[in-house]
Symmetry: C2
Subunit: 84 residues, 2 copies
């Protein structure tokens, strides 16, 4: 069983409303030194990689990240395999 972490983040040019709200809240409780907050998704997958090459698995995660886990119009993703 392969563990994979997928990180989905809003593209730089997209306004991050959730991040702005959190930054405001952080400032309100007195932390003036937090200048930017970007809010994203962190998805952990457990994949059965039996009988599949690393190449095939990577292709599969790429496909899933693009089609299901992110919205390519406004988000970027990256993933890393973190072990068995």
């Amino acid at each position: 069983m392969l563990k994979v972490n997928v990180y989905v983040t809003l593209k730089k040019e997209i306004l991050d409303a959730q991040g702005l709200v959190i930054r405001k809240a952080i400032k309100q409780i007195g932390y003036e030194n937090v200048n930017e907050v970007r809010f994203g998704k962190f998805i952990q997958l457990e994949i059965d990689d039996k009988n599949k090459s690393e190449e095939e698995i990577k292709k599969e995660i790429d496909y899933l990240s693009d089609k299901l886990l992110s919205n390519p119009n406004i988000e970027n993703y990256r993933f890393e395999m973190v072990g068995k």
Copy 2:
């Protein structure tokens, strides 16, 4: 300026409804080998660390993660400093 990544995940014993929906969707498009999906948050902070020790910054991130970025009743968090 210090960059910090905070990862917020549901505790193991908490039902992850979002993760289950995604897993179902993944199976529906034909990927039977994805056995678990856990859905979490990925928050990127930019912190002005001038005049602060690493110790102080860590305490600050700990506090913010506990009070604002996560719900300690149902979520865990971890963070890492990823550079300047």
